[in-house]
Protein backbone atom coordinates (compact mmCIF):
# COMPACT_ATOMS: atom_id res chain seq x y z
CA UNK A 1 0.00 0.00 0.00
CA UNK A 2 2.96 2.26 0.70
CA UNK A 3 4.08 1.70 -2.88
CA UNK A 4 0.69 2.76 -4.26
CA UNK A 5 0.75 5.87 -2.04
CA UNK A 6 4.20 6.74 -3.35
CA UNK A 7 3.05 6.22 -6.94
CA UNK A 8 0.03 8.49 -6.37
CA UNK A 9 2.28 11.20 -4.93
CA UNK A 10 4.72 10.93 -7.83
CA UNK A 11 1.87 10.88 -10.35
CA UNK A 12 0.16 14.01 -9.02
CA UNK A 13 3.38 16.01 -9.17
CA UNK A 14 1.97 19.53 -8.98
CA UNK A 15 -0.43 18.69 -6.18
CA UNK A 16 2.33 16.87 -4.31
CA UNK A 17 4.63 19.84 -4.72
CA UNK A 18 2.09 22.22 -3.19
CA UNK A 19 1.34 19.78 -0.37
CA UNK A 20 5.04 19.54 0.35
CA UNK A 21 5.32 23.30 0.25
CA UNK A 22 2.49 23.55 2.78
CA UNK A 23 4.11 21.04 5.12
CA UNK A 24 7.49 22.75 4.78
CA UNK A 25 5.93 26.14 5.47
CA UNK A 26 4.08 24.94 8.57
CA UNK A 27 6.88 22.80 9.97
CA UNK A 28 9.58 25.41 9.32
CA UNK A 29 7.45 27.91 11.21
CA UNK A 30 7.14 25.44 14.09
CA UNK A 31 10.91 24.83 14.00
CA UNK A 32 11.58 28.58 14.02
CA UNK A 33 9.17 29.26 16.86
CA UNK A 34 10.43 26.40 19.01
CA UNK A 35 14.07 27.23 18.18
CA UNK A 36 13.73 30.92 18.98
CA UNK A 37 11.80 30.18 22.15
CA UNK A 38 14.52 27.79 23.24
CA UNK A 39 17.18 30.36 22.37
CA UNK A 40 15.38 32.95 24.50
CA UNK A 41 14.98 30.55 27.39
CA UNK A 42 18.63 29.54 27.26
CA UNK A 43 19.54 33.21 27.28
CA UNK A 44 17.30 33.84 30.29
CA UNK A 45 19.20 31.35 32.43
CA UNK A 46 22.57 31.41 30.70
CA UNK A 47 24.48 32.64 33.75
CA UNK A 48 22.89 30.11 36.08
CA UNK A 49 23.49 27.23 33.68
CA UNK A 50 27.16 28.10 33.09
CA UNK A 51 28.11 28.99 36.64
CA UNK A 52 29.93 26.29 38.58
CA UNK A 53 27.68 25.93 41.59
CA UNK A 54 25.14 23.40 42.78
CA UNK A 55 22.90 25.61 44.89
CA UNK A 56 21.80 29.24 44.65
CA UNK A 57 20.69 31.33 47.61
CA UNK A 58 18.63 34.40 46.74
CA UNK A 59 16.37 36.86 48.54
CA UNK A 60 12.94 35.49 49.50
CA UNK A 61 10.42 35.12 46.66
CA UNK A 62 12.81 36.17 43.93
CA UNK A 63 10.97 35.71 40.68
CA UNK A 64 13.93 35.20 38.40
CA UNK A 65 17.66 35.69 37.98
CA UNK A 66 17.49 39.26 36.71
CA UNK A 67 15.28 40.73 39.45
CA UNK A 68 16.79 39.37 42.65
CA UNK A 69 16.98 41.70 45.61
CA UNK A 70 20.04 42.24 47.81
CA UNK A 71 20.38 40.68 51.26
CA UNK A 72 22.99 40.98 54.02
CA UNK A 73 26.38 39.43 53.32
CA UNK A 74 26.61 37.78 56.72
CA UNK A 75 24.38 34.97 55.52
CA UNK A 76 27.52 33.91 53.66
CA UNK A 77 28.98 32.71 56.97
CA UNK A 78 25.78 30.96 57.98
CA UNK A 79 25.82 29.05 54.68
CA UNK A 80 29.44 28.05 55.15
CA UNK A 81 28.55 26.33 58.44
CA UNK A 82 26.06 23.94 56.86
CA UNK A 83 27.33 20.36 56.64
CA UNK A 84 27.98 19.25 53.05
CA UNK A 85 28.88 22.74 51.84
CA UNK A 86 32.30 22.83 50.18
CA UNK A 87 32.43 26.50 49.19
CA UNK A 88 30.26 29.61 49.04
CA UNK A 89 30.75 32.41 46.51
CA UNK A 90 29.07 35.79 46.57
CA UNK A 91 27.82 37.35 43.37
CA UNK A 92 25.81 40.39 42.40
CA UNK A 93 23.41 41.08 39.58
CA UNK A 94 22.06 44.57 39.19
CA UNK A 95 20.87 47.13 36.72
CA UNK A 96 22.93 50.08 35.60
CA UNK A 97 23.41 52.55 32.78
CA UNK A 98 26.28 52.84 30.35
CA UNK A 99 27.04 55.95 28.37
CA UNK A 100 27.47 55.40 24.70
CA UNK A 101 30.20 57.11 22.74
CA UNK A 102 27.66 59.08 20.76
CA UNK A 103 26.20 60.46 23.95
CA UNK A 104 23.19 58.24 24.47
CA UNK A 105 22.67 55.81 27.31
CA UNK A 106 21.90 52.10 27.41
CA UNK A 107 20.68 49.95 30.21
CA UNK A 108 23.05 47.16 31.21
CA UNK A 109 23.10 44.28 33.67
CA UNK A 110 26.14 44.31 35.92
CA UNK A 111 27.34 40.95 37.13
CA UNK A 112 29.82 41.19 39.99
CA UNK A 113 31.91 38.15 40.90
CA UNK A 114 35.02 37.36 42.87
CA UNK A 115 37.80 37.54 40.25
CA UNK A 116 40.12 35.13 42.06
CA UNK A 117 37.45 32.45 42.12
CA UNK A 118 35.69 33.20 38.86
CA UNK A 119 32.33 31.80 40.06
CA UNK A 120 29.60 33.85 38.38
CA UNK A 121 32.04 35.30 35.90
CA UNK A 122 32.38 34.77 32.14
CA UNK A 123 33.34 31.23 31.09
CA UNK A 124 34.28 31.69 27.47
CA UNK A 125 36.61 34.57 26.74
CA UNK A 126 37.63 35.79 23.33
CA UNK A 127 40.16 38.12 24.95
CA UNK A 128 41.39 38.53 28.51
CA UNK A 129 40.96 36.40 31.64
CA UNK A 130 38.26 36.42 34.36
CA UNK A 131 40.83 37.65 36.89
CA UNK A 132 41.61 40.74 34.78
CA UNK A 133 38.79 42.67 36.45
CA UNK A 134 40.56 42.52 39.82
CA UNK A 135 41.65 45.59 41.79
CA UNK A 136 40.32 48.45 39.76
CA UNK A 137 37.68 49.92 37.54
CA UNK A 138 37.70 47.11 35.03
CA UNK A 139 35.10 45.14 33.20
CA UNK A 140 34.58 42.34 30.69
CA UNK A 141 31.92 42.90 28.03
CA UNK A 142 30.25 40.26 25.90
CA UNK A 143 30.82 40.48 22.17
CA UNK A 144 27.05 40.46 21.58
CA UNK A 145 26.88 43.91 23.17
CA UNK A 146 28.31 45.47 20.03
CA UNK A 147 24.84 46.15 18.65
CA UNK A 148 23.79 48.06 21.77
CA UNK A 149 27.08 49.69 22.75
CA UNK A 150 28.75 50.21 19.39
CA UNK A 151 32.20 48.89 18.47
CA UNK A 152 34.58 48.33 21.38
CA UNK A 153 37.90 46.65 22.04
CA UNK A 154 40.07 45.70 24.97
CA UNK A 155 41.62 48.82 26.45
CA UNK A 156 38.65 51.08 25.63
CA UNK A 157 37.02 53.12 28.39
CA UNK A 158 33.29 53.49 28.97
CA UNK A 159 31.27 55.36 31.57
CA UNK A 160 29.14 53.03 33.68
CA UNK A 161 27.01 54.73 36.33
CA UNK A 162 29.15 57.84 35.85
CA UNK A 163 32.36 55.95 36.54
CA UNK A 164 35.11 55.49 33.95
CA UNK A 165 35.71 51.80 33.47
CA UNK A 166 38.23 50.08 31.22
CA UNK A 167 37.34 47.05 29.10
CA UNK A 168 39.80 44.27 30.00
CA UNK A 169 38.26 41.36 28.16
CA UNK A 170 35.61 40.27 25.71
CA UNK A 171 33.42 37.26 26.47
CA UNK A 172 31.38 35.05 24.18
CA UNK A 173 27.91 33.50 24.43
CA UNK A 174 26.50 35.65 27.24
CA UNK A 175 23.46 37.20 25.69
CA UNK A 176 20.69 38.21 28.05
CA UNK A 177 16.98 37.57 27.62
CA UNK A 178 16.27 41.20 28.46
CA UNK A 179 18.61 42.31 25.63
CA UNK A 180 20.47 44.56 28.11
CA UNK A 181 24.15 43.63 27.70
CA UNK A 182 25.95 41.93 30.59
CA UNK A 183 29.01 43.67 32.02
CA UNK A 184 31.23 41.57 34.27
CA UNK A 185 33.05 43.41 37.04
CA UNK A 186 34.71 42.50 40.30
CA UNK A 187 32.33 41.85 43.19
CA UNK A 188 33.47 44.96 45.07
CA UNK A 189 33.09 47.23 42.03
CA UNK A 190 29.59 45.85 41.39
CA UNK A 191 28.66 46.75 44.99
CA UNK A 192 29.65 50.33 44.23
CA UNK A 193 28.08 50.54 40.78
CA UNK A 194 24.76 49.01 41.73
CA UNK A 195 24.05 51.54 44.38
CA UNK A 196 20.93 49.86 45.74
CA UNK A 197 22.98 46.80 46.70
CA UNK A 198 25.38 48.61 49.01
CA UNK A 199 28.67 47.56 50.60
CA UNK A 200 27.41 45.02 53.10
CA UNK A 201 24.95 43.26 50.85
CA UNK A 202 25.07 40.62 48.20
CA UNK A 203 22.50 39.28 45.71
CA UNK A 204 23.50 35.63 45.38
CA UNK A 205 25.31 32.99 47.35
CA UNK A 206 26.51 30.29 45.00
CA UNK A 207 27.23 27.07 46.82
CA UNK A 208 29.24 24.04 45.83
CA UNK A 209 28.55 20.85 47.74
CA UNK A 210 31.18 18.44 48.93
CA UNK A 211 31.79 15.49 46.61
CA UNK A 212 29.64 12.57 47.73
CA UNK A 213 27.23 14.70 49.75
CA UNK A 214 23.53 14.55 49.03
CA UNK A 215 22.46 17.80 47.35
CA UNK A 216 18.86 17.42 48.53
CA UNK A 217 19.97 17.11 52.16
CA UNK A 218 22.27 20.14 51.85
CA UNK A 219 19.41 22.19 50.38
CA UNK A 220 17.13 21.13 53.24
CA UNK A 221 19.74 22.07 55.84
CA UNK A 222 20.36 25.41 54.13
CA UNK A 223 16.63 26.15 54.13
CA UNK A 224 16.52 25.44 57.85
CA UNK A 225 19.56 27.62 58.46
CA UNK A 226 18.43 30.46 56.17
CA UNK A 227 14.65 30.57 56.50
CA UNK A 228 14.51 34.17 55.24
CA UNK A 229 16.14 33.18 51.95
CA UNK A 230 15.20 31.13 48.90
CA UNK A 231 17.47 28.13 48.54
CA UNK A 232 17.27 26.49 45.14
CA UNK A 233 19.22 23.90 43.24
CA UNK A 234 20.86 25.16 40.05
CA UNK A 235 18.21 23.35 38.01
CA UNK A 236 15.33 24.75 40.06
CA UNK A 237 16.61 28.30 39.76
CA UNK A 238 17.15 27.88 36.02
CA UNK A 239 13.61 26.50 35.55
CA UNK A 240 12.10 29.18 37.77
CA UNK A 241 13.73 31.89 35.65
CA UNK A 242 12.64 30.30 32.38
CA UNK A 243 9.13 29.76 33.67
CA UNK A 244 8.90 33.38 34.78
CA UNK A 245 9.73 34.71 31.32
CA UNK A 246 7.53 32.10 29.66
CA UNK A 247 4.39 32.73 31.71
CA UNK A 248 4.62 36.19 33.23
CA UNK A 249 5.54 37.96 30.02
CA UNK A 250 3.20 36.09 27.71
CA UNK A 251 6.17 35.00 25.59
CA UNK A 252 5.26 31.34 26.09
CA UNK A 253 1.63 31.85 25.13
CA UNK A 254 2.57 33.81 22.05
CA UNK A 255 4.97 31.11 20.87
CA UNK A 256 2.50 28.35 21.72
CA UNK A 257 -0.22 30.12 19.77
CA UNK A 258 1.97 30.47 16.68
CA UNK A 259 3.00 26.82 16.93
CA UNK A 260 -0.63 25.73 17.19
CA UNK A 261 -1.71 27.94 14.29
CA UNK A 262 1.14 26.52 12.17
CA UNK A 263 0.06 23.02 13.15
CA UNK A 264 -3.53 23.62 12.08
CA UNK A 265 -2.55 25.41 8.87
CA UNK A 266 -0.33 22.46 8.00
CA UNK A 267 -3.12 20.05 8.84
CA UNK A 268 -5.58 21.94 6.64
CA UNK A 269 -3.19 22.11 3.68
CA UNK A 270 -2.26 18.43 3.84
CA UNK A 271 -5.83 17.45 4.64
CA UNK A 272 -7.22 19.33 1.69
CA UNK A 273 -4.76 17.93 -0.82
CA UNK A 274 -5.11 14.37 0.45
CA UNK A 275 -8.88 14.72 0.41
CA UNK A 276 -8.81 16.06 -3.15
CA UNK A 277 -6.57 13.20 -4.19
CA UNK A 278 -8.93 10.73 -2.50
CA UNK A 279 -11.92 12.20 -4.31
CA UNK A 280 -10.01 12.04 -7.59
CA UNK A 281 -9.22 8.36 -7.05
CA UNK A 282 -12.49 7.49 -5.35
CA UNK A 283 -13.55 5.11 -8.14
CA UNK A 284 -10.25 3.27 -7.97
CA UNK A 285 -10.54 2.96 -4.20
CA UNK A 286 -14.12 1.83 -4.66
CA UNK A 287 -12.93 -0.77 -7.16
CA UNK A 288 -10.35 -2.00 -4.66
CA UNK A 289 -13.16 -2.29 -2.14
CA UNK A 290 -15.28 -4.14 -4.67
CA UNK A 291 -12.41 -6.53 -5.26
CA UNK A 292 -12.30 -7.33 -1.56
CA UNK A 293 -10.02 -4.75 -0.01
CA UNK A 294 -11.15 -3.75 3.45
CA UNK A 295 -11.50 -0.12 4.53
CA UNK A 296 -8.39 -0.62 6.68
CA UNK A 297 -6.37 -1.78 3.66
CA UNK A 298 -7.39 1.23 1.59
CA UNK A 299 -6.90 3.55 4.55
CA UNK A 300 -3.30 2.39 4.66
CA UNK A 301 -2.79 4.03 1.24
CA UNK A 302 -4.19 7.31 2.56
CA UNK A 303 -2.19 7.10 5.78
CA UNK A 304 0.95 6.25 3.81
CA UNK A 305 0.42 9.35 1.64
CA UNK A 306 0.13 11.43 4.80
CA UNK A 307 3.22 9.79 6.31
CA UNK A 308 5.28 10.35 3.15
CA UNK A 309 4.23 14.00 3.10
CA UNK A 310 5.14 14.29 6.76
CA UNK A 311 8.56 12.68 6.43
CA UNK A 312 9.61 14.52 3.28
CA UNK A 313 8.16 17.82 4.52
CA UNK A 314 9.86 17.41 7.88
CA UNK A 315 13.24 16.58 6.32
CA UNK A 316 13.13 19.61 4.03
CA UNK A 317 12.02 21.81 6.94
CA UNK A 318 14.88 20.56 9.10
CA UNK A 319 17.37 21.39 6.35
CA UNK A 320 15.81 24.84 5.90
CA UNK A 321 16.00 25.39 9.66
CA UNK A 322 19.62 24.28 9.94
CA UNK A 323 20.52 26.52 7.02
CA UNK A 324 18.76 29.49 8.60
CA UNK A 325 20.37 29.26 12.04
CA UNK A 326 23.26 31.51 10.94
CA UNK A 327 20.79 33.90 9.36
CA UNK A 328 18.96 34.26 12.66
CA UNK A 329 22.26 34.78 14.46
CA UNK A 330 23.17 37.54 12.02
CA UNK A 331 19.87 39.17 12.90
CA UNK A 332 20.79 39.13 16.58
CA UNK A 333 18.55 36.19 17.50
CA UNK A 334 19.51 32.81 18.84
CA UNK A 335 17.77 29.76 17.43
CA UNK A 336 18.47 26.49 19.17
CA UNK A 337 18.06 23.23 17.24
CA UNK A 338 18.19 20.22 19.56
CA UNK A 339 17.85 16.54 18.66
CA UNK A 340 15.26 15.88 21.36
CA UNK A 341 13.12 18.81 20.18
CA UNK A 342 13.57 17.75 16.56
CA UNK A 343 12.11 14.36 17.44
CA UNK A 344 9.13 16.02 19.12
CA UNK A 345 8.57 18.17 16.02
CA UNK A 346 8.81 15.02 13.88
CA UNK A 347 6.06 13.45 15.98
CA UNK A 348 4.02 16.66 15.69
CA UNK A 349 4.45 16.62 11.91
CA UNK A 350 3.37 12.99 11.73
CA UNK A 351 0.37 13.74 13.93
CA UNK A 352 -0.48 16.80 11.83
CA UNK A 353 -0.42 14.80 8.58
CA UNK A 354 -2.16 11.72 9.99
CA UNK A 355 -4.98 13.81 11.48
CA UNK A 356 -5.36 15.42 8.08
CA UNK A 357 -6.13 11.99 6.59
CA UNK A 358 -9.17 11.60 8.85
CA UNK A 359 -11.82 12.90 6.45
CA UNK A 360 -10.36 10.98 3.52
CA UNK A 361 -10.58 7.74 5.50
CA UNK A 362 -14.14 8.60 6.46
CA UNK A 363 -14.90 9.12 2.78
CA UNK A 364 -13.40 5.74 1.90
CA UNK A 365 -15.40 4.05 4.64
CA UNK A 366 -18.65 5.36 3.21
CA UNK A 367 -18.00 4.89 -0.51
CA UNK A 368 -21.28 4.60 -2.36
CA UNK A 369 -21.02 1.53 -4.62
CA UNK A 370 -23.22 3.27 -7.16
CA UNK A 371 -20.29 5.49 -8.19
CA UNK A 372 -18.47 2.45 -9.53
CA UNK A 373 -21.27 1.68 -11.94
CA UNK A 374 -21.34 5.14 -13.45
CA UNK A 375 -19.35 5.29 -16.64
Amino acid sequence: MFYIALKIILYDKLRSFFTLLGVVFAVSLIFAQVGIYQGLMEASSVLIDHTAGDIWVTSKNSKNFDFCQPFPEYFYYSALQVPGVQSVDKAIIGWGMIRQQNGGQEQVEIMGYQPDRGVGGPWDLKEGRPSDVKNGNFMIVDESAVKRLGAFKVGDYRDVMARRIQIMGISRGVKSFTTAPYLFTSYSLAQELVTYVGHDNTVFLIIKTLPGSDKGTVIRLLREKLPAMDVLSKEEFSSKTRLYWTIETGVGFSFLLTIMVSFFIGMLIVGQTIYNSTIEHIKEYGTMKALGASTAEISRIIVSQAAINALVGYSVSLLVTLASVKMYEAGGMVMVVKTSVNLIILLMTMLMCLCSAFYSIKKIKNIDPAILFRG
Binding site: K7, T287, G292, L372, F373, R374, G375
Partner: protein
Amino acid sequence: MVPVVAKELSKIYREGSLEVTAVASVDLEFQSGELIGLFGPSGSGKTTLLSMLGCMLKPTGGTLELFGQDITSLDERDLPAIRKKYISFIFQGFNLFPPLTVYENVMLVMNLKRIDPMVADQRARELLEAVGLGKRMNFLPRELSGGQRQRVAIARALAADAPLILADEPTGNLDHENGRTVMEMLKTLASEQNCCVVVATHDNRINDLFDRVVCMEDGRMLPEKRKET
Protein backbone atom coordinates in the same frame (compact mmCIF):
# COMPACT_ATOMS: atom_id res chain seq x y z
CA MET B 1 -22.36 -25.40 -5.89
CA VAL B 2 -24.68 -22.95 -7.63
CA PRO B 3 -22.93 -19.58 -7.82
CA VAL B 4 -25.99 -17.36 -7.47
CA VAL B 5 -29.42 -18.13 -6.06
CA ALA B 6 -31.76 -15.22 -5.31
CA LYS B 7 -35.28 -15.53 -3.98
CA GLU B 8 -37.64 -12.57 -3.88
CA LEU B 9 -34.63 -10.28 -3.77
CA SER B 10 -35.66 -6.66 -3.25
CA LYS B 11 -34.12 -3.29 -2.71
CA ILE B 12 -36.21 -0.37 -1.54
CA TYR B 13 -34.62 3.02 -1.00
CA ARG B 14 -36.26 5.05 1.74
CA GLU B 15 -35.86 8.74 2.32
CA GLY B 16 -38.26 10.08 4.91
CA SER B 17 -41.70 9.00 3.87
CA LEU B 18 -40.60 8.48 0.25
CA GLU B 19 -40.00 4.91 -0.91
CA VAL B 20 -38.43 3.95 -4.23
CA THR B 21 -38.39 0.29 -5.24
CA ALA B 22 -35.26 -0.32 -7.28
CA VAL B 23 -35.51 -4.11 -7.39
CA ALA B 24 -38.74 -5.95 -6.63
CA SER B 25 -38.94 -9.66 -5.74
CA VAL B 26 -36.41 -11.00 -8.19
CA ASP B 27 -35.90 -14.77 -8.40
CA LEU B 28 -32.89 -16.05 -10.27
CA GLU B 29 -30.35 -18.83 -10.42
CA PHE B 30 -27.06 -18.53 -12.32
CA GLN B 31 -24.82 -21.50 -13.08
CA SER B 32 -21.08 -21.80 -13.53
CA GLY B 33 -19.85 -21.62 -17.13
CA GLU B 34 -22.69 -19.33 -18.16
CA LEU B 35 -22.42 -15.92 -19.78
CA ILE B 36 -25.55 -14.10 -18.69
CA GLY B 37 -26.79 -10.88 -20.21
CA LEU B 38 -28.73 -8.58 -17.91
CA PHE B 39 -30.65 -6.24 -20.12
CA GLY B 40 -32.89 -3.31 -19.39
CA PRO B 41 -33.25 0.42 -19.93
CA SER B 42 -31.71 2.98 -17.56
CA GLY B 43 -33.45 2.92 -14.21
CA SER B 44 -34.69 -0.65 -14.69
CA GLY B 45 -32.74 -1.82 -11.61
CA LYS B 46 -29.97 -3.80 -13.27
CA THR B 47 -27.15 -1.82 -11.62
CA THR B 48 -28.84 -2.20 -8.22
CA LEU B 49 -29.21 -5.92 -8.83
CA LEU B 50 -25.55 -6.15 -9.87
CA SER B 51 -24.53 -4.22 -6.71
CA MET B 52 -26.45 -6.67 -4.55
CA LEU B 53 -25.02 -9.69 -6.36
CA GLY B 54 -21.59 -8.16 -5.82
CA CYS B 55 -22.23 -7.70 -2.08
CA MET B 56 -21.80 -3.96 -2.49
CA LEU B 57 -25.36 -3.24 -1.46
CA LYS B 58 -27.48 -4.97 1.17
CA PRO B 59 -30.90 -6.14 -0.01
CA THR B 60 -33.92 -4.92 1.93
CA GLY B 61 -35.87 -8.10 1.28
CA GLY B 62 -35.56 -11.70 0.09
CA THR B 63 -32.51 -13.94 0.22
CA LEU B 64 -29.30 -14.15 -1.73
CA GLU B 65 -26.99 -17.14 -1.71
CA LEU B 66 -23.55 -17.04 -3.28
CA PHE B 67 -21.90 -20.41 -3.60
CA GLY B 68 -24.19 -21.81 -0.94
CA GLN B 69 -23.56 -19.02 1.54
CA ASP B 70 -26.49 -16.88 2.67
CA ILE B 71 -25.26 -13.34 2.14
CA THR B 72 -28.32 -11.57 3.53
CA SER B 73 -27.66 -12.88 7.03
CA LEU B 74 -24.04 -11.69 7.05
CA ASP B 75 -22.72 -8.62 8.78
CA GLU B 76 -21.44 -5.70 6.67
CA ARG B 77 -17.92 -6.39 7.96
CA ASP B 78 -17.92 -9.92 6.56
CA LEU B 79 -18.71 -8.84 3.00
CA PRO B 80 -15.16 -7.80 1.89
CA ALA B 81 -13.99 -11.36 2.59
CA ILE B 82 -16.85 -12.76 0.46
CA ARG B 83 -16.01 -10.39 -2.38
CA LYS B 84 -12.33 -11.24 -2.14
CA LYS B 85 -13.08 -14.96 -2.32
CA TYR B 86 -15.84 -15.18 -4.92
CA ILE B 87 -16.38 -12.01 -6.90
CA SER B 88 -14.63 -9.90 -9.45
CA PHE B 89 -15.83 -6.81 -11.31
CA ILE B 90 -15.46 -5.17 -14.68
CA PHE B 91 -16.75 -1.60 -14.98
CA GLN B 92 -17.78 0.56 -17.87
CA GLY B 93 -15.31 3.24 -16.79
CA PHE B 94 -12.51 0.66 -16.36
CA ASN B 95 -11.56 2.17 -12.95
CA LEU B 96 -7.87 1.48 -13.35
CA PHE B 97 -5.46 3.26 -11.01
CA PRO B 98 -3.99 6.04 -13.22
CA PRO B 99 -0.63 6.21 -11.38
CA LEU B 100 -0.08 2.46 -11.68
CA THR B 101 1.18 0.74 -14.80
CA VAL B 102 -0.89 -1.89 -16.59
CA TYR B 103 1.15 -4.60 -14.86
CA GLU B 104 0.78 -2.98 -11.43
CA ASN B 105 -2.97 -2.65 -11.84
CA VAL B 106 -3.22 -6.38 -12.43
CA MET B 107 -0.80 -7.16 -9.59
CA LEU B 108 -2.81 -5.04 -7.15
CA VAL B 109 -5.66 -7.57 -7.01
CA MET B 110 -3.29 -10.41 -6.31
CA ASN B 111 -1.53 -8.37 -3.62
CA LEU B 112 -4.90 -7.89 -1.96
CA LYS B 113 -5.38 -11.65 -2.06
CA ARG B 114 -1.91 -12.16 -0.55
CA ILE B 115 -0.82 -14.33 -3.48
CA ASP B 116 2.88 -15.16 -3.44
CA PRO B 117 4.64 -12.35 -5.38
CA MET B 118 6.51 -14.76 -7.67
CA VAL B 119 3.32 -16.60 -8.59
CA ALA B 120 1.44 -13.30 -8.96
CA ASP B 121 4.14 -11.88 -11.24
CA GLN B 122 3.97 -14.88 -13.54
CA ARG B 123 0.18 -14.85 -13.59
CA ALA B 124 0.02 -11.11 -14.32
CA ARG B 125 2.38 -11.53 -17.27
CA GLU B 126 0.42 -14.50 -18.62
CA LEU B 127 -2.90 -12.69 -18.32
CA LEU B 128 -1.62 -9.57 -20.03
CA GLU B 129 -0.20 -11.72 -22.83
CA ALA B 130 -3.57 -13.44 -23.10
CA VAL B 131 -5.45 -10.15 -23.53
CA GLY B 132 -2.87 -8.97 -26.05
CA LEU B 133 -1.13 -6.41 -23.87
CA GLY B 134 2.11 -8.27 -23.22
CA LYS B 135 4.08 -5.50 -24.84
CA ARG B 136 2.31 -2.72 -22.95
CA MET B 137 2.79 -3.92 -19.41
CA ASN B 138 4.71 -0.83 -18.36
CA PHE B 139 2.31 1.62 -19.92
CA LEU B 140 0.12 3.85 -17.79
CA PRO B 141 -3.65 3.55 -18.40
CA ARG B 142 -3.75 7.02 -19.96
CA GLU B 143 -1.36 5.78 -22.64
CA LEU B 144 -3.83 3.11 -23.78
CA SER B 145 -6.95 3.21 -25.92
CA GLY B 146 -10.39 2.52 -24.41
CA GLY B 147 -10.42 -1.05 -25.71
CA GLN B 148 -6.96 -1.70 -24.32
CA ARG B 149 -7.97 -0.30 -20.94
CA GLN B 150 -10.98 -2.57 -20.82
CA ARG B 151 -8.73 -5.51 -21.63
CA VAL B 152 -6.54 -4.53 -18.66
CA ALA B 153 -9.70 -4.45 -16.53
CA ILE B 154 -10.53 -7.96 -17.79
CA ALA B 155 -7.01 -9.15 -16.97
CA ARG B 156 -7.45 -7.64 -13.51
CA ALA B 157 -10.78 -9.42 -13.09
CA LEU B 158 -9.18 -12.68 -14.18
CA ALA B 159 -6.23 -12.15 -11.82
CA ALA B 160 -8.66 -12.24 -8.94
CA ASP B 161 -9.39 -15.85 -9.96
CA ALA B 162 -12.99 -15.37 -8.86
CA PRO B 163 -15.72 -17.83 -9.87
CA LEU B 164 -18.27 -15.02 -10.31
CA ILE B 165 -17.54 -12.05 -12.56
CA LEU B 166 -19.92 -9.10 -12.65
CA ALA B 167 -19.51 -6.71 -15.54
CA ASP B 168 -21.35 -3.42 -15.78
CA GLU B 169 -21.65 -2.10 -19.34
CA PRO B 170 -18.18 -3.40 -20.24
CA THR B 171 -18.67 -2.30 -23.85
CA GLY B 172 -20.28 1.02 -23.00
CA ASN B 173 -17.19 3.10 -23.73
CA LEU B 174 -15.97 1.01 -26.67
CA ASP B 175 -16.65 0.99 -30.37
CA HIS B 176 -18.47 -2.01 -31.84
CA GLU B 177 -15.34 -3.92 -32.85
CA ASN B 178 -13.59 -3.49 -29.52
CA GLY B 179 -16.82 -4.19 -27.68
CA ARG B 180 -17.27 -7.46 -29.48
CA THR B 181 -13.65 -8.48 -28.81
CA VAL B 182 -14.13 -7.81 -25.10
CA MET B 183 -17.37 -9.79 -25.04
CA GLU B 184 -15.75 -12.71 -26.82
CA MET B 185 -13.06 -12.72 -24.18
CA LEU B 186 -15.70 -12.90 -21.48
CA LYS B 187 -17.46 -15.72 -23.27
CA THR B 188 -14.22 -17.69 -23.51
CA LEU B 189 -13.59 -16.97 -19.86
CA ALA B 190 -16.99 -18.33 -18.86
CA SER B 191 -16.69 -21.50 -20.84
CA GLU B 192 -13.00 -22.28 -20.40
CA GLN B 193 -12.63 -21.34 -16.74
CA ASN B 194 -16.12 -22.41 -15.75
CA CYS B 195 -16.89 -18.98 -14.36
CA CYS B 196 -20.28 -17.42 -14.02
CA VAL B 197 -20.13 -14.10 -15.88
CA VAL B 198 -23.03 -11.66 -15.50
CA VAL B 199 -22.99 -8.69 -17.86
CA ALA B 200 -25.33 -5.75 -17.37
CA THR B 201 -25.75 -4.02 -20.71
CA HIS B 202 -28.16 -2.41 -23.12
CA ASP B 203 -25.99 -3.10 -26.14
CA ASN B 204 -28.27 -5.30 -28.30
CA ARG B 205 -25.51 -5.83 -30.89
CA ILE B 206 -23.83 -8.36 -28.61
CA ASN B 207 -27.03 -10.18 -27.76
CA ASP B 208 -26.04 -13.27 -29.70
CA LEU B 209 -23.02 -13.97 -27.47
CA PHE B 210 -24.98 -14.65 -24.27
CA ASP B 211 -26.00 -18.07 -23.05
CA ARG B 212 -28.92 -16.54 -21.18
CA VAL B 213 -30.56 -13.16 -21.34
CA VAL B 214 -32.35 -11.70 -18.34
CA CYS B 215 -34.41 -8.56 -18.90
CA MET B 216 -35.47 -6.08 -16.28
CA GLU B 217 -38.06 -3.34 -16.30
CA ASP B 218 -39.10 -1.10 -13.40
CA GLY B 219 -37.18 -3.28 -10.96
CA ARG B 220 -38.87 -6.48 -12.04
CA MET B 221 -37.54 -9.40 -14.06
CA LEU B 222 -39.27 -10.19 -17.32
CA PRO B 223 -39.62 -13.80 -18.50
CA GLU B 224 -36.19 -15.16 -19.31
CA LYS B 225 -34.89 -16.09 -22.75
CA ARG B 226 -32.54 -19.04 -23.02
CA LYS B 227 -30.37 -19.64 -26.05
CA GLU B 228 -31.35 -22.77 -27.86
CA THR B 229 -28.56 -25.29 -28.09
